[in-house]
């Protein structure tokens, strides 16, 4: 596996006539949990969509696992969880997973395994529309885990979950990373930052910090990532 799972160079994306990402450069190291954090509307989803290869980009280059983003070779290697739980509400949990398993050409046995992982085995026959919001987003996560892809791109997978479940999912992400999977997770909740191996702090379409949580806090001379973020923003706006 390459040292960097994702390499973004000079990426510019314009959405709805407005530049959302401008001249962005970043790398996501393989086999770690990288958090993409930033306020709502700063362009996290847009960046993740570019990495998955479903975003129309203006210019720049996005390389994923040594292939151009979105290329055919990657379609089995990138597990993607969109911000909205993209599963079929009118089908049962098991039917949803079996359908995606068939599309990905992975064995039906995978369905049982991923349901175990997201702790939904007992809901297999329940219709997704009748699940709670958190359960639905776990079904969506389970789909991304099918076939154990080497790169997971997860857009706010922990939103709306209780603290216990959030902790469970974060430890799942670390278990996956320990097994060699690259996990890229977005969040706008700064207290989730501490749980990441590496952080990408984003603001208004630019990366303002790219380091370990410890290094980011140390450089800003504060105790938590949220204060570090605020300090970085103040610096950026600094003496005009």
């Amino acid at each position: 596996m390459p040292a960097d799972a994702v390499d973004v160079a000079a990426l510019t994306v314009v959405r709805g006539g407005r530049p959302v990402l401008t001249d962005l450069d970043l790398r996501v190291p393989a086999g770690q949990v990288t958090g993409l954090l930033g306020p709502s509307g700063c362009g996290k989803s847009t960046l993740l969509r570019s990495i998955v290869g479903v975003q129309r980009i203006g210019s720049g280059r996005v390389t994923v696992l040594d292939h151009p983003a979105g290329s055919r070779a990657l379609r089995r290697s990138v597990g993607y969880v969109t911000q909205a739980a993209s599963v079929y509400d009118d089908l049962s949990v098991g039917e949803n997973l079996r359908f995606f398993a068939r599309v990905l050409d992975v064995a039906d046995a995978e369905v049982g395994r991923v349901l175990e992982v997201v702790d939904l085995s007992d809901r297999r026959d329940q219709v997704v529309g009748a699940l709670s919001g958190g359960q639905r987003s776990r079904v969506s996560l389970a789909v991304a885990l099918l076939g154990s892809p080497p790169l997971l791109v997860l857009d706010e997978p922990t939103v709306g979950l209780d603290p216990v479940l959030r902790a469970t999912l974060w430890s799942l992400f670390h278990d996956l990373a320990d097994a060699g999977t690259t996990v890229l997770v977005s969040s706008h909740v700064m207290d989730e930052a501490e749980r990441c191996d590496r952080l990408l702090l984003m603001r208004e379409g630019a990366i303002i910090a790219d380091d370990t949580p410890g290094a980011i806090k140390e450089r800003a001379g504060v105790d938590d990532v949220e204060s570090a973020f605020l300090a970085l923003v103040a610096d950026a706006e600094g003496p005009r």
């Binding site: 089995r76 068939r102 599309v103």
Partner: protein
């Protein structure tokens, strides 16, 4: 395209339809009920007008119903994010469109067999040509509806807009297909317009089948409808982008 994936999509769409009991019931029952209503309307009139309008309705219902169902379901797939997820997977555009076409094509077979069966078997619609061919025409009409529905769903942002395409795309075809005024008697400009509308050919095929047992013209009309259907599916595939703004 990969047959495994196309069939997986088709099976999934059919399963969703089966879950939605009300839609399934409407898909199958509504055309039969409306045809019966039409027969009843004309019952006390001296001339047998049901033979004149019946074939038109057999061409229209599968078309309209499939157009609506397809445009709304595919739009829902676009807006819920499931399409975005599928397009990040090894699914070809042809698999997606083909899967829908296969699923709704099967529904159309069932729907058309019922509607034709009731018209010919119960309501006494007189058909000179082979009844099975009448069913084939109805099925191809339904496929046409599916293809156009897939196409317009690309231009609609909301389900509400998708439904608005019905008066814009479907009703002109109904008005000009020869059901109300024979196509030959239309003003020149409207006649020319009607010549490029797919439903006109479906309607021609149906009325030829009712009038005569000579099927040569039916086949050429059927070929025209199929060509429109294929063109609709290809255009639909062109509007389906992996990368969206």
């Amino acid at each position: 395209m990969t047959p495994r994936i196309t069939l997986a999509v088709a099976a999934r769409v059919l399963r969703q339809l089966r879950r939605d009991r009300r839609t399934s019931a409407m898909l199958l029952a509504v055309p039969c009920v409306l045809i019966t209503l039409l027969w009843w309307m004309f019952r006390d009139l001296p001339a047998d007008r049901f033979d004149q309008f019946g074939p038109g309705l057999l061409a229209m219902f599968p078309f309209i119903v499939m157009f609506l169902v397809t445009s709304v379901t595919t739009l829902r797939e676009r807006s819920s994010g499931t399409l975005e997820r599928l397009l990040s997977m090894p699914l070809g555009k042809g698999d997606f469109l083909g899967g829908y076409a296969v699923a709704f094509g099967l529904v159309a077979v069932l729907q058309s067999v019922l509607a034709v069966g009731i018209s010919v078997g119960l309501l006494g619609l007189e058909v000179q040509g082979p009844v099975w061919l009448l069913t084939v025409v109805a099925v191809v009409d339904a496929l046409l509806g599916t293809a156009l529905g897939l196409l317009v769903s690309a231009f609609a942002r909301t389900e509400f807009q998708a439904v608005q395409f019905m008066p814009a795309v479907v009703i002109p075809q109904i008005l000009l297909c020869g059901l109300f005024v024979p196509r030959a008697a239309l003003p020149d400009v409207l006649g020319a317009v009607s010549d490029v509308l797919p439903l006109s050919y479906a309607m021609d095929a149906m009325s030829t089948l009712v009038r005569t047992s000579d099927t040569a013209e039916v086949w050429s009309d059927l070929a025209a409808v199929l060509a429109f259907t294929m063109a609709g599916l290809l255009l639909g595939a062109a509007t389906l982008r992996r990368r969206t703004p």
